[in-house]
Amino acid sequence: MSETDDSKKAPPSGGKKKGNPRKQKERRRFLRSVGLTAGVVGFSLAGLLPAMQRWRPRLRPPGALSAEQEFLASCIKCGQCVQVCPVYAIKLADLLDGAGNGAPYIDARMQACDFSCDGLQCVLACPTGALSHDTDFPHQVRIGYAELDRPDLCLARKGKGFQGKVRGPEFGGLFRYNEIDRWNPIPVRDRDFDLELCDLCVRHCPIEIRIAQCEAGNPPSGDENQCPPKHALTIEEVEDASGKMVMSPVVQEGCVGCGACEMVCPTEPASIIVDMTKSADTV
């Protein structure tokens, strides 16, 4: 129906404007070109919304410039940081991140940065300085800041221990255990734990591990500079909401927000998570 309508209408309207057919053709082409410009630019600008409104807040890799806008401006979206990470912690964002499309992020619950590489390979790989080359050691990193988000779930606060595999036999997260293999991260499911009081988060805190190594006179890579000056996560006796004294993980000012605690926390959801809006410098 509509086709016949169009064909009936077409000749008179074409006849009305019967000026210079070449000029008309050019006019149509010009309008098409304006439409194309508006369409493509409009679509690209739509990408600014998710980025500016932070609809999809992301943990960025170690060394990332602290202002999100600066980070996204300087990142060239090449993924070289992804390629060098020994625990595959870094992923690239997709189109729904808008202007963050192709920029690297870390999903700590799936795979946290455990500083297995010691030398911050992602920072060294970054060609643009989006991961700032001023960052030399893990304890200088400011990804975020850990927070005991669900104290009601925390096993330690309930006085409970932990037996078995961290987050079950299916979980694929990797971690480098110095005492097992100095060079290669292994799946956390390969280890069985038997803890009287759950302190998995503290045991897996890369900063605490480094402090312990340094105190034993064994700094990472034999370099004293690798020794973190401040604690990041400890288990301490605290008063809970009802006034009872309980053992609890306590985040300390040396926390870099790597998310290792979040990754290994056995509760569902994780009791301890990384707050990406904070860092050791801002709290």
Binding site: L72, I76, L95, P127
Partner: protein
């Protein structure tokens, strides 16, 4: 200099200028004069092209394009560290490489330039000055390859009158280039990178596809059903950036007037047919004419030409080729 400006203006969207008689060399005028009387027999021309059929340069180009992109993929997946990163920025055997347009976006948005990025930019700039600028488009860009396949479908559909061809003003690409440069500087975000099919496809190949590939699919559908090769012809600022580089490149296609029958098959296969204006009867200003910087050096016209009137040239090295 005049030719340089003509090539630049053509690239920015001006229609090729028809040369006046004074601008045509005597030797070329003589050939034009003799050819005036020659009439092209369409059946003969068809037969000529049927007998000639060649895909030499296309096959070499596709092999190169696939090899470069696969080198990125295997470098990562087999961890052989030959070509790390993606097309936007990479390390080749440890040397920094950075795509010129992506780097420009980053520099304008970030307003700081790190030395590593600068090294990458200079390396890539020298590389493409030597190799022809938009050579990047047809020999490396993964979007170009899929767009060529979409082009084949589009042409079939147009031939069968299922879809109608729509063109745009070529100047719109220069407008896009300016808009995206301004947007990067003003918003502080690399706005074009968000939607660049080149970056999206390169990352999809290396790190796995995501939703962004659907956008690339939409652009391809637009080209199949609405306008031939629209992204490369009218939108992509990467192409224009490399086009500027190509203005200074010694590697280019040259046209030889002598044996040309002016049947125009080369212009039909060309992504940027305005650069082949000199092959139109009576237009060549000299016996040999270099083709403009907007040319992607894809070689389709060379493959299409049965009289060898088009060939690659590296200026100054002719004797050796």
């Amino acid at each position: 200099m005049k030719l340089f400006i003509e090539h630049l203006m053509q690239m920015l969207g001006r229609a090729p200028t028809r040369p006046s008689k004074e601008e045509i060399s005597d030797a070329a005028q003589k050939i034009h004069f003799y050819k005036k009387k020659e009439k092209l027999d369409i059946e003969e021309a068809k037969e000529m092209h049927r007998l000639h059929k060649s895909n030499k340069w296309r096959n070499r180009r596709w092999a190169t394009l696939l090899a470069v992109n696969l080198l990125f993929v295997v470098s990562y997946w087999l961890d052989i560290q030959m070509l790390e990163g993606a097309l936007t920025a990479s390390r080749f055997l440890g040397f920094h490489m950075a795509d010129l347009n992506s780097s420009l976006q980053v520099m304008l948005a970030f307003k700081q330039v790190l030395i590593n990025l600068l090294i990458g930019v200079v390396t890539v700039l020298i590389l493409w000055i030597l190799l022809g600028g938009r050579t990047f488009c047809s020999w490396v860009c993964p979007y170009h390859l899929v767009a060529e396949w979409a082009d084949m479908i589009h042409n079939k559909l147009v031939e069968k009158k299922i879809v109608k061809e729509h063109d745009f003003h070529r100047g719109v690409r220069a407008v896009f280039w300016l808009i995206f440069a301004l947007l990067a500087a003003v918003t502080g975000y690399t706005v074009f990178e968000t939607i660049s099919p080149t970056g999206i496809l390169s990352r999809a190949l290396i790190y796995g596809p995501g939703l962004a590939v659907a956008w690339v699919g939409a652009v391809l559908l637009f080209e199949i059903f609405y306008s031939r090769r629209a992204w490369c012809r009218y939108v992509c600022p990467i192409g224009l950036t490399y086009g500027f580089v190509g203005l200074f490149s010694p590697l280019r296609v040259v046209y030889d007037l002598n044996d040309c029958r002016h049947e125009g098959e080369c212009r039909k296969v060309c992504e940027v047919p305005h650069v082949l204006e000199p092959v139109i009867k009576g237009r060549a200003t000299d016996v040999t004419v270099p083709i403009g910087a907007d040319c992607t050096r894809c070689g389709l016209c060379i493959d299409a030409c049965p009289t060898s009137s088009l060939r690659f040239e590296f200026k100054g090295l002719n004797k050796f080729l």
